[in-house]
């Protein structure tokens, strides 16, 4: 255990990401005192009951007073209001970061609220699960996953390096990127896949001639992987699509173009085109496994439920 990187950290929002950060900071002794705040009394009570945060506060302003690092861990669409609320209470020299899944929109909406003398270093851990809320977090969530920092061009290097140290201490690898590129990369690796999964599950749910109970029983043939992604938090994902509109629509356009080409190959019976397409996508999977970003165990090595 080394010296803490920040003496006081405030977590605003106490869901999956904030609670995982808390346990990961504790695991490695990265923070002195960690305060926390969530808007609902229910979440604050849960946090107190499970020991999430050293001190759970009843207002955001109380939580951020004296904090060296403030982490905004609420849905992207709620960031601006939270930033406005805490701004007057931020300590000079403090750093504000966020964990939102979209970056340009957070920079545009949070940035103007950050007072002179406080550093704003936007960030995004590329790690999550389909669960949410204060009880869903765990210390290992960020281990061997990437966190992207999106510092503004005029931010001093020291606060960025310190935040990088925190993420590395929580087990993550860290890259820096500009916001437009971040939002495009995420549209490909996360946002469009989520929209597609939600859509496929919606179609299955909607069909008259195939019952929900059939879909459920026979899901193991591929569909159930989509349902995991489509079980993610609706508020979070609504905000992602509303705030990463341009990049998502661009990737969706590419997706439907390719899908129509494959649909045409099916209609015309062009087996060679299908075979070639299905062959070249395998290289990406191999790369992901070699990079340690997924397991090669069949079916993710998942525990077989019910057997």
């Amino acid at each position: 255990m080394t010296a803490p990187i920040y003496d006081r950290v405030a977590l605003i929002g106490l869901g999956l990401i904030a609670s995982s950060m808390f346990w990961a900071m504790k695991r490695a002794g990265l923070a002195g005192e960690v305060t926390g705040y969530a808007r609902s009394a229910e979440t604050r009570d849960t946090a107190r009951r499970i020991g999430l945060c050293d001190r759970v506060c009843d207002s955001a302003s109380e939580a951020v007073a004296d904090a060296d690092l403030v982490v905004l861990a609420v849905p992207v669409g709620a960031m601006a209001a939270v930033a406005a609320e805490i701004a007057p209470h931020l300590k000079p020299g403090a750093t504000v970061t966020d964990v939102g899944s979209v970056k340009q929109s957070v920079i545009d909406s949070v940035g103007p609220h950050i007072p002179e003398g406080v550093f704003f270093v936007p960030g995004h851990p590329l790690a999550g699960t389909e669960h949410s809320g204060p009880e869903s977090g765990f210390a290992e969530l960020f281990d061997n996953r990437w966190t992207l920092l999106v510092p503004l061009p005029d931010t001093a290097p020291e606060p960025v390096a310190r935040l990088r140290g925190l993420w590395e201490g929580m087990g993550a690898h860290v890259d820096e990127m500009d916001p437009a590129h971040h939002d495009l990369v995420l549209a490909v690796t996360s946002h469009t896949p989520h929209l597609i999964a939600y859509t496929m599950v919606g179609v299955a749910d909607d069909l008259r001639r195939v019952t929900d109970s059939e879909v459920i029983k026979y899901s193991a043939a591929g569909f159930r992987d989509f349902t995991r992604i489509a079980a993610s938090d609706p508020t979070m994902w609504r905000d992602v699509f509303l705030t990463n509109k341009a990049a998502t629509l661009e990737i969706l356009g590419r997706f439907t173009e390719e899908l129509f080409a494959l649909q045409r190959a099916i209609r015309t019976g062009d087996g060679d085109q299908l075979f070639d397409y299905f062959t070249h996508t395998r290289a990406i999977r191999r790369g992901i496994i070699e990079a340690g970003q997924d397991t090669d165990a069949p079916d993710f090595g998942r525990v077989k439920a019910g057997s």
Copy 2:
């Protein structure tokens, strides 16, 4: 261990499904002698080396001679040729089944080759992984998964009941269904999801402005689940789409219709529509978990690679 259900079983094709059947039959003592055949000497050699089958034969006709059950476990497009080859060598009173992922097309192409006095009971285990080949099988593959039998209307009940007993002995639940309904259900729960996953991975691989190395590093945000599905065998999936054309195109049509509605909601900023859509898809996930068809552990409880 009970008495074997079949004295002699012949497996034609020695890939993921056939090898899993072999280990599952051995686990429960369901078959006396199991013979096997695959078209390539390489696969036959591998099978001999790893003890897959009691006897590996150098021709399909040798493998099926005297068999009480013959299992066609080759890609759907290859079934007819295999059936034609073995037909003259089938024992009167034997049962032929298959494990192909599409049923109407197999019935149309294999059925005419089955001689008088031999029973043909098409089947399809709804279980698989992204791996293929003789070394990818394991005895537990079918445990707690569904196998669909698609008997022809004029087939005697006894051979169907006996085959059902075999699948149940291998750990599966069994339902019966007519071929058109089977092909529609599978278009929803398997075939269209696979096509969509292949397409999304293809799009990611193709973008100029996002490198493959970025896609690979940052895949944990959702995309990597798609890459698992899109790593499945290209020959098998080419044949599935060529032979389940009508149902796949129907479901694809529904899918693009819904996707366009969501795309429009993103473009117009209709957050309520997105939120409602993302909310109602969660019930299906809950149903799948309650039915024991998937684990509720975050991220499938997958083993974290590389950490």
